[in-house]
Symmetry: C2
Subunit: 145 residues, 2 copies
DNA sequence: TCATTAAGAGTAATAGTTATTAATTTTAAA
DNA sequence: TTTAAAATTAATAACTATTACTCTTAATGA
């Protein structure tokens, strides 16, 4: 019965994960945790990320472009990917009743049993919109935020 | 101006794709087209599948488990994956207005710009439900379909 | 028919991830 | 506190899905 032992490396991975709002990939986690543990290996990062997901402390976010990101926010929510900068952002403002309505919408007329869904949004993130506006406005407006 | 030449292999790949309702992977396409073209290579299958997708004759369906499936049905619809047998099934009975309502639901209160979404359902497919019922009923009922 | 050139076959290369293993760390019993 | 079992790590090998490369075949247009 594989008792799970504490490890500093896993701590560092988890701490890094919850410190970020943009959902890093395994590679990004690796590069950052390496600052604290220069000898950590990519395999250790992968093993601990899947461990954290299995323990329910993190979520695996498979994106449309095939890349896989990780999220330290385990409360139910959807994700949004910016088509400009690639950032993954949490969408927390969802009404639970509307979520269930989505399943019911397709269950009607379908012979199988709908048990759940994955919903993933795409578009332009607030930061990229701000950047875009800044480059549009003329020089004398730059300081107006 | 890269004139696209016709090829029997591509035809066979496309014909196989639209003949299936369960959205095969590149590997499955390969195994099946090989019956007609025993010398076809996996690289040819991949190249033609992406060609078909680029031409708008097929859709690439990246699934949650990381596997990639292909769909010869290009009309707008959602997908459903059976958690028992892994089959991917088209869900055609969706009201377009309800789809847009999904984007509006999350746009409200979000500073970014929602441009679209990917929605993917999971559960038990009709075939697996039928199979389950069959194994439950007693012997004297087997022939009752 | 013949020349041109995209497409195919076969194979090598790559990326992302998982598996293996010897050495190290953690934990708990003595 | 010491120490030994068990889990974890670092390093690396292996694996899987996909793409790239090279040379050959065959579709197209004159």
């Amino acid at each position: 019965m594989a008792a799970i032992k504490h490890s500093r490396q896993r701590d560092a991975i988890f701490t890094f994960l919850i410190s970020r709002k943009d959902h890093p990939t395994a590679e990004v986690v690796y590069e950052n945790v390496r600052k604290e543990f220069p000898k950590i290996s990519l395999g250790t990062v992968y093993r601990n990320l899947t461990l954290l997901v299995d323990m329910g402390h993190a979520i695996k976010v498979p994106c449309d472009d095939g890349s896989v990101h990780f999220d330290g926010n385990v409360s139910p929510h959807y994700h949004f990917e910016c088509t400009r900068c690639g950032a993954i952002i949490d969408l927390m403002n969802i009404d639970a009743r509307k979520l269930m309505a989505i399943d019911e919408m397709v269950q009607d007329g379908f012979d199988g049993k709908i048990q759940g869904h994955q919903l993933f949004f795409s578009g332009i993130c607030p930061a990229c919109i701000k950047k875009e506006n800044k480059s549009k406005i003329s020089v004398d407006n730059i300081d107006k935020k």
